[in-house]
């Protein structure tokens, strides 16, 4: 199984926050023989991988299994489904899209036709509360036969490789990180390493609290995706980071002040080994590190991310070269962290 086959399969699975079972089951099914795993009360998955040597520092890697999605909250008399978002979603990426519901049905999300709009209605993106999913039901009673309140819906999106080295899919945030960890677990490691596949990152980095408490890392490394703003019409520091410029090593984001020595070590290690790497030109975003750093007696945290365009949409886009460079960097950096 290549890394990108794993990414495709993992991203296709539905796994909104709190409902990560399909992702967890797939990861467990892919663990090599002799590798032990455990699941906790919240659904976090712990994997211990023996290396050739015992480490001085306990290094724990984290990636989250959950994705953003929708939750059905109400059914109207006419049989339309009202919903709220699970994780942050821009309503603009929902309009004119189809979603797959937990019951297996497909629904569409759209607005009143352009031609029937009045005033500046045709230029407005309504808030999520005003949108609804149409499953073609005649009325509430028919919709209720299929759809339960609290059930989820996920984006429909095909895995696409395009533009030379780009990959587009839903849920790359953070199935990509899960796939990277799975790849490391399948490989021969120099030191014993612990892996935590977390739940509920998108609703406030909640699974990582138990994940960090249980594993008590000396050093926690978070493998993630991070927003790239290198798109047409965005200039200077607002681009944050760029596809193709290498993995992103964070010094600070909206949730975490990263361990500065680890930040420098990662940057220097990349440079010494001729591996492209970058940092963000904006303090923005956040990930499981915010919870991990403060749990138990606290941990030193390091985040390494693939720059990704259009995060939290059906069309997350990352660059294969960044992924390859992230693997190269981890291969040389992880032994250094363990020593």
């Amino acid at each position: 199984m290549t890394l990108f086959e794993d990414i495709r399969i993992l991203c296709e699975l539905p796994g909104v926050s709190g409902r990560e079972e399909p992702v967890r089951e797939y990861i467990i099914s892919q663990l090599p023989e002799g590798v032990s795993c455990e699941t906790d009360a919240l659904g976090n998955l712990y994997v211990e991988k023996k290396g050739a040597k015992r480490p001085k520092n306990k290094v724990v890697l984290f990636a989250h299994m959950d994705e953003v999605g929708l939750m059905i909250t109400y059914i109207t008399d006419d049989g339309y489904l009202k919903f709220d978002e699970i994780g942050g979603i821009d309503p603009a990426v929902l309009i004119g899209r189809t979603v797959r519901l937990e019951c297996g049905l497909v629904g569409v999300i759209a607005l009143k036709a352009l031609h029937l709009c009045e005033g500046d209605e045709d230029k407005k993106i309504p808030p999520i509360r005003e949108l609804c999913i149409d499953i073609g039901a005649k009325d509430r009673a028919e919709a209720e036969k299929h759809v339960a309140l609290g059930s989820y819906a996920v984006f429909r999106s095909d895995y696409v490789e395009f533009g030379g080295s780009r990959v587009k899919m839903k849920a790359l945030d953070d199935r990509f990180g899960c796939a990277l960890m799975l790849d490391l677990i399948r490989s021969d490691l120099e030191y014993d390493t612990t892996f935590v596949f977390t739940v509920q990152e998108e609703v406030g980095a909640r699974g990582a609290v138990a994940g960090a408490y249980t594993t008590a890392p000396d050093i926690a490394v978070i493998l993630e995706t991070t927003t790239a703003g290198d798109i047409c019409g965005v200039e200077g520091e607002r681009r944050a980071c760029a596809l193709g410029d290498g993995p992103v090593i964070s010094y600070m984001d909206r949730g975490t002040v990263y361990d500065h020595d680890l930040y420098r070590l990662a940057m220097d290690t990349a440079k010494e080994n001729g591996i492209p790497a970058q940092t963000k030109t904006l303090v923005a975003g956040g990930n499981d590190a915010s919870s991990i750093q403060r749990t138990g007696a606290g941990s030193r945290v390091l985040a390494i991310s693939a720059p990704t365009r259009y995060l939290h949409s059906p069309v997350d886009v990352l660059d294969k070269n960044d992924v390859e460079n992230m693997q190269k960097l981890l291969n040389v950096l992880l032994p250094k962290l363990a020593q």
Partner: protein, 345 residues
């Protein structure tokens, strides 16, 4: 004929206004078994004819769909674009597209990440000029394959909903094309002895230049345009829309022929075909408007298939409404009415 598969085939082939060749070929192949003559006009429209007695009738549906058109290179693998037809700007953020260059190129319409969005832009659809298509290609590769003027179609994720509803892109007006092809089949089965011209027209979404030109060489006494119209969805005044699945909408408007309207209504009732009435107070926004001005003037009727979410990637229709539209068309042709000859009922 499997109408569902035909509609799938027709909506999976792109045909943005001005670039209808591919979909025209699919439609021609599907129509061919039911007509005696089949040709393309200089503008690219398709005309198929069942030869019989006069007076002849024209049935019209349009092949083209709305899309985008490349206007300039944006650098870093991006393309600037404008709309081609009445594109809804509210659906474009993060939309997957195909750029029809010398080769098809996959792209995504850029969407500004929330942390970069300005407060005052929140809740507003980005104007076309602020959006760009991300192809992921180097500028050198992109400029080899794609040129300004190339058309762009939107990718759909086709969906089958409850109650026989199907959603995809370009149902406007491929649903009408399917209805015409099915009507041709019904007429063939009924050994129709009247002359019928099926015209699949082009460029409807950008001004309807082709409808009258296509009918110009046809010596017809009446025409019926078949298009889609609004089915009710949340927030839509029931006065402005019909109900999906409740039958074709027979159009009534000052510019349409009143005897033909009345005739189609009574034919629907005689044949127990469900129908709805669509009242418009001036033009109809369909090819019916242009057809009335063909040559010395034509009496024109309009039948519309109820459709939800017009001009999006989730245009939704039912196969039942398409079938009933075809039945109504075939019954109207077979009735051979005086209305079709331009007289009173």
């Amino acid at each position: 004929m499997d109408l569902t598969n035909l509609l799938k085939d027709l909506t999976s082939v792109p045909g943005v206004s001005g670039l209808e060749d591919k979909v025209a070929r699919v439609a021609m192949d599907a129509l061919a078994p039911y007509v005696d003559e089949l040709y393309k006009t200089p503008m690219g429209a398709v005309v198929g004819t069942i030869k019989g007695k006069g007076p002849a009738i024209v049935l019209d549906a349009h092949l083209d769909q709305i899309g985008l058109v490349v206007t300039a290179y944006g650098g870093n693998g991006f393309l600037r674009f404008d709309k081609c037809g009445g594109m809804d700007p509210r659906i474009l953020s993060g939309m997957e597209v195909t750029v029809h260059g010398t080769e098809d190129v996959y792209g995504i319409v850029s969407s500004i990440p929330p942390h970069l969005a300005k407060k005052e832009e929140e809740g507003k659809a980005k104007p076309f000029k602020d959006l760009a298509i991300d192809t992921g290609l180097s500028d050198e590769e992109l400029e080899k394959t794609v040129k300004p003027g190339d058309r762009v179609s939107l990718k759909a994720y086709p969906a089958e909903l409850l109650n026989g509803q199907v959603a995809s892109v370009a149902m406007d007006d491929r649903a009408g094309i399917v209805a015409l092809i099915r009507a041709a089949e019904l007429l063939k089965e009924a050994d129709c002895d009247r002359t019928v011209h099926f015209q699949f027209t082009v460029r409807e979404e950008v001004g309807g230049q082709a409808a009258a030109a296509t009918a110009y060489n046809i010596n017809a006494h009446a025409a019926i345009a078949v298009d889609v119209s609004f089915a009710r969805t949340p927030g839509v005044d029931s006065r402005d829309a019909a109900l999906i699945g409740k039958g074709p909408m027979i159009g009534y408007a000052p510019i349409l022929d009143k005897p033909l309207f009345e005739r189609m209504k009574s034919i629907a009732e005689e044949n127990e075909i469900p129908y709805q009435i669509e009242i418009m107070h001036r033009g109809t926004g369909t090819h019916a408007d242009e057809l009335t001005n063909s040559k010395a003037g034509l009496p024109v009727g309009l039948i519309s298939i109820p459709l939800k979410y017009m001009h999006t990637t989730v245009e939704t229709v039912t196969m039942e409404d398409i079938e009933n539209t075809a039945r109504l068309l075939a019954a109207t042709v077979l009735a051979g009415t005086t209305a079709l000859e331009g007289g009173a009922v």
